[in-house]
């Protein structure tokens, strides 16, 4: 039993060890200077020494991501319900939504900075825009796939379409909404980072750009690793939170 647990733990750590070994091997074999590719040890050292600096910027990015995620999830949820309620709205809005997906979000970053300023606003807007579509699409898709038997039962019971939407279609589609939000938790940091790259004085994106410009590649990597870990943690936390909510809901 304990042996099995040990083996599982070992297997969990193995990919990390493998990645670090490959990284270190590349540095040694390529004889790369520190400003091109620092080794894992150097990055770890920088991570430790600059922990206060990185934490400060990470907090800014995290705030932007969380605000964007919440606003995007709320807006996406409301939009999907609106679109599900009205065929006319679907006809009018769906093509627009698809068109906006054809616009590279990156290209919008400068104009968002112009509109919402240099501070957090433009980054939150960026994160919101990038997650709005996946949340809306995944929720709307679930809203249009309600078990036909439930809808027929409701019709025989004499229900109005709006009540069917509220009492049956929306609750039945919440798992779809949850998977959209889980996906959004991975996308939202991308939005915030793009925003910070284009124009900011705080945040992990800003820090990475700054470190890169001064050839502090180790700091750049340290910030990158923190960003990746933050994203993973957010994805995990959002997934666990939603799972608990849905369980309590019985769906």
């Amino acid at each position: 039993m304990t042996r099995a647990v040990w083996m599982r733990g070992l297997l969990g750590v193995a990919p990390v060890v493998l990645a670090l070994s490959l990284w270190q091997a590349a540095v040694w074999l390529g004889d790369l200077p520190r400003f091109i590719l620092p080794g894992p040890a150097a990055v770890a050292q920088t991570l430790w020494h600059s922990r206060a600096l990185i934490a400060e910027h990470a907090l800014v990015t995290l705030t932007e991501v969380l605000a964007g995620l919440m606003l995007g999830a709320a807006l996406g949820g409301v939009s999907a319900i609106g679109l599900a309620a009205s065929a006319l709205a679907r006809r009018l809005v769906q093509p627009i939504l698809v068109f906006t997906q054809a616009v590279p979000v990156f290209a919008l970053a400068p104009i968002l900075t112009l509109w919402f300023g240099y501070g957090m606003g433009s980054k939150i807007a960026m994160a919101l825009i990038i997650i709005y579509f996946p949340v809306t699409a995944s929720f709307l898709d679930a809203l249009t796939r309600t078990h036909p038997g439930w809808l027929e039962l409701a019709r025989v019971m004499g229900a109005s379409p709006l009540r069917v939407l509220w009492h049956i279609r929306v609750p039945a589609a919440l798992p779809g909404f949850a998977s959209g939000v889980k996906l959004a938790a991975v996308y939202a940091p991308i939005g915030a980072i793009i925003g910070e790259w284009v124009g900011a004085s705080r945040g992990l994106g800003y820090l990475m750009l700054l470190a890169n410009g001064r050839a502090k590649t180790d700091l750049m990597f340290a910030a990158l690793i923190v960003l990746a870990l933050l994203t993973l943690a957010l994805h995990w936390a959002v997934g666990a939170g939603l799972r608990r909510m849905l369980q309590r809901y019985g769906a």
């Binding site: 038997g149 019971m157 069917v164 049956i168």
Partner: protein, 266 residues
């Protein structure tokens, strides 16, 4: 309860393809009428027409008694996120009416599930879930109840118990039961119809009040006749080799061969 009779006369097409008819079906008021037949001959289409779910069905004819119906299907259609009690009162909530929780509890009492009112459907067995569906149907309190194979997913013992309970609780209402089980039809039908590819035919039921006893000789005999008529079993003395022939149509003593009933599909 002042339950109406159900009647359907006409022909139905779906997407240009003939589903049934022309046929004529009468379900007398306050009785159990069983519509027996194999899959794909249009039993459900008839039921959907009475239920007002006829979108996509091109029905040419007359229909009476539809509207004011409650529907119970093979799938219990319980909403997994609602408690048992909330499922039972779903209809009122969907119509924006005041929910009478006390009345719903009384109905749950009658199906023997009052102590499970707060549970989620996922915590119940298949038979219990179907009893909740029955409670929901009763709470709708409609004079006409349409049953779409509501017992076919249950095990034999649970099915017999559910049949007894349903007959008891739906007394006085007009019931149309669609089924592919001859045993069920022989037990439960005041009036029996068989719908096959050849059309609709009324068949005399066994004697006695419903639910008739499972092992009763007359019920078993009726069940065998129904099965033969469905074409499942070769008629004795005919077709000893080769494919089983369709049972002759006049195997039943017809007491009333449904007024002007041209059979057959083109």
């Amino acid at each position: 309860m002042n339950a109406p009779a159900l009647a359907l006369h006409g022909t139905a097409h779906i997407a240009g393809r003939l589903v049934f008819g022309p046929l004529s079906l009468n379900a007398p008021a306050g009785c159990w009428t069983c519509l027996l037949g194999p899959s794909g001959v249009g039993k459900s289409t008839i039921l959907r027409l009475f239920a007002g779910l006829g979108d996509g069905i091109a029905f040419d004819g007359a229909l009476s008694g539809a509207g004011q119906v409650a529907l119970m299907a093979q799938d219990d259609l319980l909403l997994p996120w609602l408690s048992v009690l909330d499922n039972v009162t779903l209809g009122a909530r969907l119509r924006g009416q005041a929910v009478d929780g006390g009345a719903a509890l009384q109905v749950l009492e009658r199906v023997g599930l009052a102590d499970r009112a707060g549970d989620r459907p996922g915590d119940l067995s298949g038979g219990q879930r179907q009893r909740v569906a029955l409670a929901r149907t009763l709470t709708e309190d409609r004079p006409v109840v349409l049953l779409d194979e509501p017992f076919s997913a249950l095990d034999a013992r649970t099915r017999a118990q559910m049949q007894d309970l349903t007959v008891e609780l739906l007394t006085g209402r007009t019931v149309l039961l669609v089924t592919h089980d001859p045993a069920e039809a022989a037990r439960l039908g005041h009036v029996l119809f068989i719908l096959t590819e050849d059309g609709l035919q009324e068949v005399p039921p066994p004697d006695g009040p419903i639910p008739r006893p499972v092992g009763d000789a007359a019920v078993l005999a009726a069940q065998a006749r129904l099965l033969t008529h469905l074409g499942a079993v070769p008629v004795a003395g005919a077709g000893t080799r080769g494919a089983a022939p369709r049972a002759p149509r006049d195997i039943f003593p017809k007491k009333e061969p449904g007024a002007g009933l041209p059979r057959g599909r083109r």
